[in-house]
């Protein structure tokens, strides 16, 4: 099932992400960076053969003393996580005001939460969801913000009253019905995972 103006198989069949196929869309694709958010978020059903034959090695990197190993299909998520690591460098007053530094434990809870859902949706539903923006906000909590063609979602992870909490708000663009509440950060909620499939 294809949702975009290019064939995502091109990522799987080629050795470089910048390679494109011979099609009318080639010029459009090559004009943009391969990691352009517009091209992320696709369903990879019917690509199992290509995956089997062209499996890329997983993406690995370290943040502080934590080693992360992420499936190559999730390169955009990995890219955002790597980019977010400088959140850990921000000190109190990082916004030239009363912005608080993040607790490292909260940052890693946030990354674990993100990977828990993205890995689950990838593994169970063969769907790669879009990468959210990972943003530190003034209270020292972290926002995960998705603005995709299919849905809008904000998840906020915070440390409050000696525990880690997450709240969320979102809606599918097909019906605009708001969906909000608390979300367990330690285990996947199947109904939430199903809802999040639209984040592509």
């Amino acid at each position: 099932m294809k949702h975009l103006t290019f064939d995502p198989k091109s990522f799987l069949k080629t050795t470089k992400h910048t390679d494109t196929q011979d099609s009318d869309t080639q010029s459009k694709v090559s004009a943009r960076a391969w990691y352009d958010r517009k091209y992320i978020g696709y369903e990879i059903a019917e690509l199992s053969e290509a995956k089997d034959n062209n499996e890329k090695p997983p993406i690995t990197f370290k943040i502080l003393d934590r080693q992360f190993t992420i499936h190559s299909d999730l390169y955009d998520i990995a890219d955002e996580i790597r980019d977010s690591r400088n959140i850990l460098d921000l000190k109190d007053g990082w916004d030239h005001s009363t912005g608080k530094a993040v607790r490292p434990e909260l940052y890693f809870k946030c990354i674990d939460f993100l990977l828990m859902y993205t890995n689950y949706i990838h593994k169970i539903y063969n769907i790669v969801i879009d990468a959210p923006e990972i943003n530190l906000i003034p209270s020292g909590s972290i926002d995960l913000s998705w603005r995709t063609q299919g849905a809008r979602m904000l998840v906020n992870l915070k440390y409050k009253d000696n525990e880690f909490l997450a709240t969320f708000y979102g809606y599918h663009k097909s019906n605009m019905l708001p969906h909000e509440g608390f979300i367990d950060i330690l285990k996947v909620d199947e109904s939430m995972a199903v809802w999040m499939k639209q984040l592509k």
């Binding site: 980019d83 916004d95 923006e133 926002d143 913000s145 708001p178």
Partner: protein, 190 residues
């Protein structure tokens, strides 16, 4: 001996007015400086979070200020380190009152002029236009709505203004410390 000192706030000379539905409110938003190689939407949801001690978000009513005066107010205000704010590090966005009143968690939207005396302390100008948006805790949905309004209506909401045009005026006002109309009754006829 009773050593309790009663601090009396000076009486505000301006009446609290009803904000008309057809008017607009300005929101000053700092441009964060986090280094990132990937694009960030601006303003983000984090720009609409309550800070410690806040019970509402501050706006300025366009009945009493324009974009230039918004920047001047910023330029005359001290930050937490008692230094003048870097007013060039802000963008100003404009919200229709009609939109703000549709926020699902809206508690109140009031004209709340700030008056600290005449003259008010240096670094703390009075603000006749100050208005307060109360949406409870400004939960995730409210922050999404306030961020998305700007991004989805960027043509109408973003106030493009050449800040350099008022740089000289701000320097001149700063040199006068609190002897400016902004620190008194906002009489700009001088």
């Amino acid at each position: 001996m009773d050593e309790t000192v009663e601090i009396k706030m000076p009486a505000c000379p301006w009446p609290v007015e009803q904000i008309e539905d057809e008017s607009f409110l300005y929101r000053q938003i700092p441009v964060h400086t986090r280094v990132t190689s990937r694009g960030r939407k601006f303003p983000g949801e984090g720009h609409f979070e309550l800070r410690d001690g806040e019970e509402s978000l501050s706006f300025n009513w366009d009945k009493h200020v324009d974009v230039a005066k918004n920047y001047i107010l910023l330029g005359l205000t001290f930050n937490i380190n008692n230094q003048y704010l870097e007013y060039t590090g802000y963008k100003i966005f404009k919200y229709p009152v009609n939109f703000l009143k549709t926020l699902p968690k809206l508690v109140s939207l009031d004209h709340t002029p700030n008056y600290y005396g005449s003259p008010s302390p240096n670094g703390k100008p009075n603000n006749r236009a100050h208005s307060s948006l109360d949406c409870g805790i400004f939960d995730d949905g409210t922050r999404v709505a306030l961020s998305d309004y700007c991004i989805e209506n960027i043509e109408e909401s973003e106030c493009n203004f050449k800040i350099k045009a008022i740089k000289g005026e701000i320097e001149e006002l700063r040199a006068r410390a609190n002897e400016t109309p902004y620190h008194k009754e906002w009489d700009f006829t001088e």
